[in-house]
């Protein structure tokens, strides 16, 4: 209970700032309208107007909340939960690309890490490229990946997943290289005294030792993967997915729609990171490492 109070305070502060900013940002349009209609705006009128505009500069929380409800819960209740207008549908589209890309990125990252740890040439040659890959802005790479894959006949889920993979393999490589190298000299010497093979040392010592590092990487990786999937929906003018909602929203100045897609994406990220955190806690506890 004691942690609730500070959290609540912060939430209330954010809401207060949000509502206040909405007044400030949306006021010019309200005055504009009033001037054209030749009416005087009282303070109450101003507040009421700035908090309920159709296309506000900054929509207020209850507008976003009601939009989110209209496109999720309300649609479920009316039996259209998975229609093309529902945020659940769009979240699912983005989520599936995120998970596929995340899985691919985790596999790729782990394989690269194994190569880097076991092969000196790879250690010296691969890491600089891995780092370079992340210095190129994803927004510049994404269209190329999509265009190239489209040219060879691959479209839909996979191109988006590739962009997710591109972003999520990086934390996995970095974390797993560190994790696979985390056994100390004594533990490795011990394996040597038993004349253990490289494979036995890997499966019985290096891989289990790397678990805390892996989970830390996965949390960063899945969030990056979601960003990748959203970015992947932007350049194609995709019709489905949270990225598509963002794009459509900005074409038509539907700020409420933009914000609700944005918050849904944030909630999705928090959910996925939370699930990994849960798996992490259970696994590490069972492994005696937490």
């Amino acid at each position: 209970m004691r942690n609730v109070l500070p959290i609540l305070t912060i939430v209330l502060a954010i809401l207060a700032i949000w509502y206040a900013s909405a007044i400030a940002l949306n006021a010019p349009w309200a005055y504009d309208k009033a001037k054209r209609a030749n009416i005087e705006l009282s303070a109450t009128d101003l507040v009421r107007d700035t908090w309920s505009q159709k296309k506000p500069k900054l929509p207020v929380p209850h507008q976003v909340a009601s939009e989110i409800w209209d496109t999720t819960g309300a649609m479920v209740l009316s039996g259209r939960g998975f229609s093309k207008r529902s945020l659940i549908y769009h979240s699912w589209v983005t989520f599936s690309a995120t998970i596929l890309g995340f899985a691919l990125g985790t596999v790729l990252g782990t394989l690269l890490a194994v190569g880097i740890v076991y092969n000196r040439t790879m250690d010296l040659s691969v890491m600089p490229w891995v780092i370079t890959s992340q210095t190129v802005p994803i927004i510049a790479i994404a269209p190329m990946i999509i265009v190239v894959l489209n040219a060879v006949g691959i479209s839909g889920l996979l191109p988006k997943a590739m962009i997710s993979m591109y972003l999520s393999f990086f934390p996995v490589v970095v974390g797993m290289v560190k994790g696979l190298r985390s056994p100390d000299a004594m533990q490795l010497d011990q394996m040597r005294t038993w004349n253990a093979s490289a494979a036995q040392t890997f499966w019985r010592l290096r891989l289990p030792s790397s678990m805390p590092y892996l989970f830390a990487s996965l949390k960063v990786g899945i969030a990056a993967s979601l960003v990748g999937a959203i970015v992947g929906e932007l350049p194609t003018g995709a019709v489905a997915g949270l990225g598509a909602r963002l794009l459509a929203g900005s074409y038509y100045g539907q700020t409420v729609q933009i914000w609700s897609a944005l918050l849904t994406a944030a909630a999705l990220a928090a959910l996925m990171v939370g699930v990994i955190g849960l798996i992490q806690r259970v696994t590490l506890k069972r492994m005696g490492m937490a």
Partner: protein, 259 residues
């Protein structure tokens, strides 16, 4: 000749470091016989660990020769001829005590039945019967160290190399483990090389005590113990015991004479 387990001749090991060469071992000559309990004692940095690691093929000598069971240390390691007990127990937290003891057995390809039988046997030997399913963090430091000894005993190695296995434990626990170790040595007939900093521990355990001195690391004295194989703890109050302890101390002092 076949009863010589370890034979070092003019053995030397020089580490090349940034601050110049370090002579960790120089002109070391020593034969360890089958069934010996040999203790290595000496001030910090005199090369005790290095010597043990050379026997175990964890370090390569730069001069002289050494054989283990009549072969090179590498062949002996590949033949799994020795068990090595490190200063820290080094148990895997994600494995139970039983799982930790099975680890080398799995690696060496023992059958499941054989693994189970041997694990139960060695746990009994170190008086940890009933702890097979516990995790390392559920055991005290002394019990963990006993488990790590059990792990080194589980496979068929006649040679046991131990580097300050009881260094981090308190005196009472240490006495108890010393007693157990002696019994175990008596029962199994293994050859043991044992590194320690404690004079009473060395004298109590050993059939031979190798006193080493530093810079360069070398053997200053080898003392044959006249004590019987059967050694109750109170043998430490006997005159013979105290005489040997004196000789060890003199040896250590002589090695220190130049600084």
């Amino acid at each position: 000749m076949s009863d010589i387990v370890i034979s070092a001749k003019d053995l030397g090991l020089t580490f090349q470091t940034g601050d110049g060469p370090i002579h960790a071992l120089k002109d070391v000559n020593l034969d360890v016989r089958q069934g010996d309990f040999v203790s290595f004692i000496g001030p910090s940095g005199c090369g005790k660990t290095t010597f043990l690691r050379v026997m175990a093929d964890l370090e390569q000598p730069t001069a002289g020769t050494i054989t283990v069971n009549g072969t090179s240390p590498e062949e002996a390691r590949r033949a799994r001829a020795y068990g090595y007990v490190f200063q820290a127990a080094g148990l895997y937290p994600w494995r139970t005590i039983g799982g930790n003891i099975r680890l080398p057995l799995e690696i060496m390809g023992y059958s499941r039945d054989e693994q189970a039988r041997r694990t139960a046997d060695v746990l009994e030997l170190v008086e940890l019967g009933g702890f097979e399913k516990k995790y390392p963090w559920q055991l005290s430091g002394g019990m963990q160290q006993r488990a790590s000894i059990a792990r080194a005993l589980a496979f068929d190695a006649d040679l046991l190399l131990m580097d300050e296995p009881f260094g981090a434990l308190d005196e009472i626990v240490r006495d108890h483990l010393n007693e157990q170790l002696l019994k175990l040595w008596d029962r199994t007939g293994k050859t043991i090389c044992f590194v320690t900093h404690s004079i009473p521990e060395a004298v109590y355990l050993s059939t031979r005590i190798v006193v080493m001195s530093p810079r360069p690391g070398r053997i200053a004295d080898v003392i044959e113990s006249p004590l019987p194989r059967e050694r109750p703890l109170d043998i430490r109050d006997s005159r013979e015991f105290i005489e040997i302890a004196h000789r060890v101390r003199d040896g250590l002092r002589a090695g220190h004479g130049d600084d």
